[in-house]
Subunit: 259 residues, 2 copies
DNA sequence: GAGTGGTCTAGACCACTAC
DNA sequence: TAGTGGTCTAGACCACTCC
């Protein structure tokens, strides 16, 4: 057995017993403890990161990961908050931007619209236990959901009652701005109960812009999800593209045949 | 931009244009070409491996990966060969072992049997384009599929017509032993047309024994699939647990709601 | 036997975080 | 300011593959 793998396996035992968020020995500590070179200590910690057992933050340290099972199935509600809550995490929503745009081919196809038809795009960022966890871009037919942006802003967490300026990015206004759950807004304001029409999931290399929105550097892998929801009567109402961090979510996909 | 990421991005352009299986510059070649240390060259190639763009083989070199889209959906047939063929690969089956065992809780539950009921277990290894790509362990109710092992052996690729001894492992007899497609055997001999009842997919750390069966070292991540199939009349006939190599398969899961 | 990737050492500078 | 992880150098030995 190689040194770094033996060390990784030994650390894994401790990490699995430790509380999520607690510290793991630093590279230098492992050097002093085991009389190995820093590169070897580093390889062991990177191995644990590869196994999604720890998170490493430059300048801060290595910490036991909190990993959540994100379950996608026909009978799970297509709601970020609800999915996270069911997995035992504390969800939070942040509205990044809303805009009326022309539907591209994929969006139009999913929503049963003509290409170029107006759609409301809602960009959000999701958090789990205070950590950036995912971003999504949802599209709705503009005719039916004209005032959706207003509804979401009205329901968000700005204490002073004014609308937050979230249109120009992440850094400025959104530090702790909870927005209303999109799902809740659809249910309570629009009186529809969104259900999954279809979803796909795969693992891909994240685009650099998306990576920085998720607090990641380099060119990391992430879950790439497409999902389409319909209202109770079978009419498509939402098409979403999402990225989820692999170190936060263990995505479990369950397909159940129509019987 | 860091040196190794810039090099990786530059190599990625070439790799994407190259034929799968062709050679990528070795670490030493990159050292000489770019005047960098070997560790930096190595980091660049490892980055490409992480992106699933290349495969690295100790002693041999780094090669452009052939990656195949393994699509799981309600309407795709639950057949290894067919799934691989649809993705453009050349499939091959190898029978590792067959045995009648007592159903464990999960197997019994999936097949609608009592725990401990006899089931036929069929262990196979799948190949794509001559490369080890996955292993699976399928379970069938013993009463209905008693002679399944004999059927599979009778249909395998041994030229001399005798039965291959595949029960004791991989190294001995199985170098090029094609076994009959399990799916084909079920259709042609048992006159059932297996359909997906349900499947789940997730990414996990591979057990060491499974890793060596797949030709992998260390503790790599792999796709972990569970799937249950029924015959045309809704009776469950097969429950399978499978591992798929992530460098061979891009698993795409598609859930389609019963409408 | 020549070349490959896998591991390891003993240093170094840097960007970043937390205090 | 002290400590963290990210990157990089210039060596080394090894196990392995291919010829």
């Amino acid at each position: 057995m190689t040194t770094y793998l033996a060390l990784a396996d030994s650390l894994e035992v401790d990490v699995r017993k430790a509380v999520p968020g607690s510290r793991v020995p630093s590279e230098h500590e492992l050097v002093d403890l085991h009389g190995i070179s820093r590169l070897t200590a580093r390889a062991a910690l990177q191995e644990l990161e590869r196994r999604h057992l720890v998170r490493r933050v430059r300048g801060a340290g290595t910490f036991v990961a909190r990993r959540i099972e994100y379950r996608i199935a026909a009978d799970t509600p297509p709601s970020w908050s609800e999915t996270v809550r069911r997995a035992g995490g504390v969800p939070r929503n942040e509205l990044l931007a809303t805009e009326v745009v022309a539907a591209d081919g994929e969006v139009a196809d999913a929503l049963g619209l003509a290409p170029g038809a107006p759609v409301v795009r809602v960009d959000r960022r999701g958090w789990v236990d205070g950590e950036q966890a995912g971003i999504s871009s949802s599209h709705f037919p503009a005719d039916r959901f004209t005032d959706l942006p207003a509804q979401l802003v009205a329901g968000d967490g700005c204490a002073d009652g004014t609308t937050c300026d979230t249109s120009n990015g992440i850094e400025t206004s959104s530090r702790h701005a909870d927005s209303a759950s999109l799902y809740t807004t659809l249910v309570e304001h629009y009186r529809v109960s969104p259900r999954r029409a279809w979803s796909t999931a795969e693992l891909d290399v994240l685009a650099p812009e998306a990576a920085s929105l998720l607090g990641l550097s380099g060119r990391p892998l992430a879950w790439w999800l497409l999902s389409c929801n319909h209202d109770g009567e079978g009419r498509p109402i939402e098409f979403a593209r999402s990225w989820l961090r692999t170190d936060v979510f263990k995505v479990v996909f369950r397909l159940e045949a129509a019987s």
